[in-house]
């Protein structure tokens, strides 16, 4: 089959690889119909997530048709149309029982690697490095899906297009969880750093969950426009205004009740010296993150407020405003999304017409053009927000 493979930093290539096979009784093989490129894939593309191997098949946002099931599978059948959540979860461990699916204790065969870096491991993830299990991803014609009875959600309603449900695999639940973790009260102000797809869904979800005011921060006007249109957000371009001052003005000096980081480890900084400092340190692997957005989210948050970190970080950070966090009684909430927990309720919101996730899609192309998709998305060319690949 054809699959999009990581071939080194800034290099992906659609190549011939073997077809996937059933390895465990609980597996299904899915013929991928639609798959997407995520901001998380850019961290791999740019070489900031360790333990990638040349040839690894990428992709953790995908859906398609079940074409084969292992002998232990009972809840999905050949022919079912399924959306697959990006964290791989067994459904039987203590974490899964607590619905903390991205912390599944059994799905990462390489947990030992993650333990070295993080103390304990988290769940396996499709197409997301060997530290996250070494699973081939879904930017491919076919993909092996472990624990098929636990993760995939069957879409029975044929009137829903792929594009309407594809993002249940990651970014819609991720944005939603980012907002849910903020425990939003009516009239709360929620500020979201990053107007990428995750930030868009975080902002839209904050509005759905009753925030009084949603503020979205980025530097790309086209992305900020989308946030204004679809989440009714106020927008701040951090290259034009002092974000902290602007947020204080919007909240009459208090600061936002909740701040969501939807940027992650490759944040950009308007001010040269600080960006240079972090970029050199990150380049030399002396810190693994460029945490500009997170620093600003922490220092902007109101006293006693919540900072929800949805952007992905990998290792160690420098110049972290711990004093601000501690002395001002902030709460940090974070995690890889527990996608399985949100798929059904969010599918209902899509079916009821409360939200149409297709608004983030700007580019559609065949899988064979994945490399170009990565390039356009990475450079935010052509007003790119989200690339969907059709296999």
């Amino acid at each position: 089959m054809r699959a999009n493979c990581w071939m080194g930093v800034h290099r992906v290539e659609v190549r011939d690889v073997p077809d996937p096979k059933i390895l465990n009784d609980g597996d299904a093989i899915v013929r991928v119909t639609s798959t997407a490129i995520c901001g998380s894939d850019l961290h791999l593309f740019d070489g900031y997530i360790p333990t990638m191997e040349k040839g690894d098949v990428l992709g953790h946002e995908f859906m398609g048709e079940v074409v084969e099931v292992g002998k232990g599978v009972t809840r999905v059948e050949v022919g079912d149309r399924v959306v697959v959540p990006f964290p791989i979860a067994c459904g039987s461990c203590l974490a899964c029982h607590r619905e903390l699916y991205s912390l599944c204790e059994n799905s990462n065969p390489n947990a030992g690697m993650a333990e070295k870096a993080w103390g304990s491991s988290a769940a396996g993830i499709f197409g997301y490095s060997h530290m996250a299990g070494g699973y081939a991803g879904g930017q491919a014609e076919y993909v092996r899906v472990p624990f098929a009875d636990v993760g995939p959600i069957v879409i029975e309603d044929d009137s829903l297009s792929d594009e309407q449900v594809l993002f249940l695999s990651d970014i819609f639940p991720t944005g939603y969880m980012g907002a849910e973790l903020c425990d939003i009260q009516p009239a709360d102000t929620v500020a979201v750093w990053g107007a990428g797809p995750v930030g868009q869904f975080a902002a839209a979800s904050a509005a759905l969950l009753g925030a009084g005011q949603v503020v979205v921060i980025d530097r790309f006007p086209y992305r900020l426009r989308t946030a204004a249109e679809h989440a009714g957000a106020q927008t701040l371009n951090y290259e034009e205004v002092d974000v902290r001052e602007a947020l204080r003005e919007l909240t009459a000096g208090r600061g936002p009740d909740a701040c969501i980081d939807a940027v992650g480890m490759e944040a950009h900084h308007g001010s040269g010296p600080i960006h240079a400092y972090d970029k050199v340190k990150q380049g030399l692997r002396m810190e693994t993150e460029r945490p500009h957005a997170l620093r600003q989210a922490i220092t902007s948050c109101r006293n006693g407020g919540t900072v929800s970190i949805m952007g992905v970080y990998g290792g160690m950070v420098d110049k972290f405003p711990l004093g601000s966090l501690m002395n001002r009684s902030l709460t940090i909430k974070t995690g890889q999304c527990h996608v399985q927990r949100y798929m059904r309720p969010l599918l209902q919101r899509i079916q009821s017409g409360e939200i149409d996730p297709t608004f983030v899609i700007t580019h559609r192309m065949p899988l064979s053009e994945a490399a170009q998709g990565y390039d356009i998305f990475r450079h935010k060319q052509d007003d790119c927000m989200k690339v969907v690949l059709n296999a």
Binding site: V57, G283, L284
Partner: protein, 329 residues
């Protein structure tokens, strides 16, 4: 790691610790650790010098803009890199300095893959690090763990002991029954080929040894408290005398079980001893951790969990030599 004492069980989930009382073994390790440490020191110098003298070229190498300001940052980091090196080179056993280095660097993930892959001599590892320019820190960690383990002042008997603990989401009775049926053990203990129960308390064990050889022995259950404890021991005449105990206790959360395992073996002298050491895992801590992880997978999900990169499931050796994450041909 490496500060383990016998009879001091760890209580953390999935924790494990080992004791080695074999002075030869630790000497061998110290050699490697020290060479690695010295190599790292030279690497520090190797990295620091160009950072200080040619910051522009270093900037281009790592892909940042070569501005005046970036050069200043780069130069400052070079000074820091150089400052760490003499501490390592000065010392016969540079553990402390290495830990200082680790602390200063901030754990680097980026090289984890490369550091794990480069298995050969210390020099090869350092070369791999130099080639990557990045991620010296993980090497630092590896070197720290090795040198301090060899510095462990254990004397006396030569037994190798390891302890591990894990929490599984199954009731103690079920865990007990699973473990008591010794034929289940090879499903999660990677070095075992088969275990056959004979009469009530006896069993015959076959383990895989290097070079396609197998080692066999008979064992018996010496203690058996349903739902709480099973202890076994090889019978007289075993090439590698060994024993083990598994203790079970209800976990604080409903229905789950805390599993604590102690195993011990007496490596014989000479070449057989070396082979036996490998048979029982070069790193008994890693091995018991892996075994417990697989045990958890099997009892909770029914199978050892496989991925494309680790098609045989959890196994530290496999983690060092990953297949790429592409479907198996």
């Amino acid at each position: 790691m490496g500060s383990a004492r016998p009879g001091n069980p760890t209580t953390s989930e999935g924790g494990a610790q080992a004791t080695t009382a074999d002075p030869r073994g630790s000497d061998g390790r110290r050699g490697g650790g020290e060479r690695l440490a010295k190599g790292l020191a030279w690497f520090s110098i190797g990295l620091g010098v160009p950072q200080v003298l040619a910051p522009g070229r270093m900037n281009r190498l790592i892909g940042v803009d070569d501005s005046r300001q970036n050069r200043a940052v780069m130069r400052a980091m070079g000074v820091r890199e150089l400052a760490g090196a003499p501490g390592i080179l000065d010392r016969p056993r540079p553990s402390g300095f290495l830990f200082a280095r680790v602390a200063g660097d901030a754990l680097d993930l980026a090289l984890l893959g490369a550091a794990l892959r480069a298995k050969g001599s210390a020099r090869a590892r350092v070369a791999a690090a130099a080639a990557a320019v990045a991620g010296v820190t993980v090497l630092d960690v590896i070197a720290s763990a090795k040198t301090s383990r060899s510095a462990d002042p254990t004397t006396g008997e030569r037994a190798v002991r390891a302890h591990g603990a894990i929490t599984v989401n199954r009731p103690p009775d079920e865990v007990y029954r699973f473990w008591r049926d010794v034929e289940n053990l090879p499903r999660f203990m990677a070095h075992l080929e088969s275990v056959h129960g004979q009469e009530d308390l006896r069993s015959h064990w076959v383990a895989r040894a290097p070079a396609g050889r197998t080692v066999e022995w008979d064992a018996e259950v010496v203690e058996d408290v349903p739902g709480e404890l099973i202890a076994w021991r090889s019978l007289d005449g075993a090439e590698v005398p060994n024993s083990g105990t598994v203790r079970l206790a209800p976990a604080p959360r409903g229905g789950a079980t805390e599993v604590r395992v102690d195993v011990e073996h007496q490596p014989p002298l000479g070449a057989v001893g070396a082979a036996a050491a490998r048979l029982f895992g070069e790193d008994p801590v890693q091995q018991i951790k892996d075994d417990l992880r697989r045990f958890k997978q099997v009892i909770e999900t029914g199978e050892v969990v496989r991925s494309d990169g680790s098609p045989d499931g959890t196994r530290t050796q496999r983690q060092l030599h990953q297949r790429h994450a592409q479907p198996l041909a």
